[in-house]
Amino acid sequence: MKSFLLSRLLPAALLCLAAAALALVIFRGGSTAHAQPAGDSPTVPSAANHWQRPASLEPTLFADWPRPKVALVLTGLLQGYIEPCGCSGKENEQGGLSRRDRLLTDLAAQNWTVVALDVGDQVRRFGRQQEIKFQAVADALKTMGYRAVGLGPNDLRLSATELLASVAPVGNQPSPFVSTNAALFAFDPKTLPLDQVIEAGGLKIGVLSVLGDEQRSQVNNQDLQFQPADKAIADGLPKLTAAKCDFLVLLASATQDESIALAKKYPQFQIVVSAGGAEVPPKQATVIEGTATRLIELGSKGMYAIVLGLYDNSPDSIRYQRVPLDARFGDSARMKRVLASYQDQLKDIGLEGLGLKPAAYPGGRKFVGSQACSECHTQAYAVWKKTPHAQALETLAHLDPPRQSDPECLSCHVTGWEPQKFFPWDGGYLSLDKTPALAGNGCENCHGPASNHVAAETFQIKASEADKERYRAELRLSLKSDADRRKVIDICLKCHDIDNSINFKGGDAFDQYWPKVEHHGKD
């Protein structure tokens, strides 16, 4: 008996155990192979509740989705909105690079093969700050592992030299950027690829990226070369066909009409990602009439991502999920580092280095600071001092990272700036050292620069009674008539706009906010 146990049963049991252990390793797959990205520690989501946010238009994401061969994450039109911010609370805002990174890392943590593509338009405005921001976003997209990133018209308005520094490959790292019909200085695939072929999840995905002809007219940059989108696609498709791609994707920085026209002319593309379309993408993708091609809209301001689950290379096996980048996605440590580096650059360069020269205020008046108002308007000043307006600059300094060197934040958090164009007026805030009296969102941001009024009332200039009354009238605001009220609300909306103060919209909102700052004239 003993010999039977030793010679037969024991080896069989050991073999069983070994086979079981092998099975565990094989069938569990790469759950330990998808290591968390270096430098970040997102938690693996609790499967039961991570993708849910009951108070959202998309309360549940990826419901009933089996694991796809590839999860295509489509983004674009960030338009400079690198992070949600404002005075209505981050939980009420959507978008930002941090949440986008969390979406990608959380999908990867579920063992999904993720391929991220972006149609372009990382910035919205022109100037040195946008060049630095583009560079920061380019770094962020590379860190997130994007495989194809197009260039939109707002990107292409930037200096070609700066763009080149951001998009060109560094060392042996290939560039994820792609532009089929727009070149920086000259068409050179080594510097800016004309296409991307991505192998992932057993599929080969071919990507072309074009700037539409209408969008082309938005760009005035002598250092670029262009081809018509149509011709560039005709020239570029054979290469993808020769590479035996299973899926073809067209990133189209084009109007919706032009995107559809290109899709109909080139039905080889299974997916056309269009920069055209409404601010909110549809709940389902549209199949373009007469084709099997899906038209994907991305919305605007990077508030949404679209995730397509590819199950095989048949056009019918694609699942679609619109993903609002809302507060269900937490912060990403590595994106926070990118944003901190961006703020450090802005601080090092300074306003002058960013090319921000004060502009003359219409009429030539200058800002004097709220302290000057306090001498006569003591009650109004006391009210103001207790409001968040007075602490607005400190609010920026206490953020992580601090933002008090960022013109796009300063414009509403200090006195004497054009709030929607992000530059100082002559006599407006420059720094705490040079203009301490203009810290915070002061009286003159709503009432206008008070230099004439203060000079006249304090006898610094000779002014007749008529002049004095004229200077007072320039600054006076009233809520008596509908027109007066509308004028006041319009002033509030310059800072409490839809991007930064989503709760403040329309007359009803004003009635809720006004009591918090209510003040009346002279003591």
Binding site: A12, C16, A19, A20, A21, L22, A23, L24, F27, R28, A47, Q52, S56, L57, P59, T60, A63, P66, F126, R128, D139, R157, L158, S159, T161, E162, L164, A165, S166, A168, V170, F185, A186, D188, E214, S217, Q218, N220, N221, Q222, D223, Q225, Q256, G276, G277, A278, E279, V280, I349, G355, K357, A359, A360, K421, L493, D497, I498, I502, N503, G506
Partner: protein
């Protein structure tokens, strides 16, 4: 023979055990994102339950002029056998006002959802907004109503702002702007004004009727004008800003065309970490063990750009290695581009080159045959750690 049978049996049993364990542990993670309400959806519905019905859930407003307001009323009916409870849910934007007329709907009765949207603070183009109503109908716990359409204007200007990305200091540059009108009558510019008076003399404005071929491509446009905006030589180096107020015969208010740009010298350097004002490249703290590689681009514009002919004249300190790439471009109007690779090799010794008391900055001198830049100087700030 019996031995082999036992071996195969042991392996099969072991594999089956391992697979079964895996499915039990991980199978749930692929499928358990189902919302409780959706799970409820799949379970049998009581015949006494409320049953919510909406005849339409999407409405197209069509074209809306900017600043106009449109409203649509959706109807919700209860075709079930018990009261239907409704509750306002989320919307895509708080700019979308939606009101629910009644929160409880008896069987056989109906209520309405009114969605109002104003085309305010939006650019012309497509729009789409949605609002959700939550219900106690187990088969449809929520309804989403969507409005969509196109915001239009009586005119359209494209582009809406001008950016002169890089203007050589000594050469003029002209850009075109198109203004389309969708009203009857011939559009004309009746006046214009440069608002930045200090530099107004450096700009030129010309308006001409739009050619029929261009007008034809714009849907519903009745007429148009083409503006030619020229930036003349003489602006100082650096960023510039201008604005043109344009008065049109067919528009009540003047329209504004913001202009921005950058006047550059004929030789420009760009790259990650480059500070143009101080000719300084900041590499930061470099690991001596790993080293670092980075790249700058020197771009030469202007009539002498083909005289680049770069050579390295001097590089300090010794730990800093510099290589010049092949100059590219220069054909036609394209500028010359010169890649400059900078490297702190792996195995470099700790050192400080942060400037001032923290060590002398690194310096690269590149010689050229360009008349205005015989020597290009690149300062490099870095420190090498362990």
């Amino acid at each position: 023979m019996r031995h082999w049978f036992l071996i195969i049996l042991a392996v099969v049993l072991g594999l089956a055990f391992g697979l079964g364990l895996t499915v039990m542990e991980l199978g749930a993670s692929f499928t358990s994102t189902v919302d409780a309400s959706l799970a409820q959806q799949n379970s049998p519905v009581s015949p006494d339950a409320p049953h919510v019905v909406a005849d339409e859930e999407e409405y197209k407003f069509g074209s809306m002029e900017r600043e106009s307001l449109k409203t649509h009323v959706f109807t919700i009916r209860n075709e079930g056998h018990s009261p239907l409870s409704l509750h306002k849910g989320a919307s895509t934007c708080r700019c979308t006002k939606f009101e629910l007329a009644g929160e409880t709907v008896k069987p056989g009765e109906s209520t309405t959802v009114t969605i109002e949207w104003k085309a305010r603070d939006v650019q012309p183009g497509p729009f789409r907004q949605s609002a959700t109503i939550e219900t106690n109908d187990p088969a449809r716990p929520e309804l989403t109503f969507t409005i969509s359409g196109d915001v239009t204007n009586s005119y359209r200007m494209t582009p809406t702002s001008l950016a002169f990305s890089s203007i050589s200091a000594g050469e003029p540059q002209t850009a075109e702007v198109h203004i389309f009108s969708y009203r009857p009558g011939q559009l004309e510019v009746v006046g214009h004004e440069f608002t930045e008076t200090s530099t107004a003399d450096k700009f030129e404005f010309q308006a001409v009727p739009m050619p029929a071929s261009v007008l034809h491509d714009e849907k519903d446009a009745q007429s148009g004008v083409v503006l030619h905006i020229t930036v003349k030589p003489g602006l100082p180096l650096g960023a510039f800003r201008q604005k043109i107020q344009i008065r049109l015969n067919l528009a009540e208010d003047p329209i504004e065309l913001p202009i921005e740009g950058n006047t550059i010298s004929d030789v420009v350097i760009a790259g990650r970490g480059w500070d143009d004002d101080h000719s300084l490249l900041t590499l930061g703290t470099v690991s001596g063990r790993e080293g670092i590689k980075t790249e700058l681009f020197i771009v030469a514009h202007g009539t002498h750009r083909k005289d680049l002919h770069p050579t390295i004249k001097q590089v300090t300190p010794d730990d800093l290695k510099v290589t010049l790439g092949e100059p590219l471009g220069g054909t036609g109007d394209t500028p010359m581009r010169l890649p400059v690779m900078l490297e702190i090799p792996p195995g470099s010794r700790p050192a400080l080159h942060l400037g001032g008391e923290e060590g002398k900055l690194g310096e690269v001198l590149i010689g050229t045959d360009l008349p205005e830049a015989k020597t290009i100087r690149i300062l490099v700030r870095f420190d090498v750690g362990e």
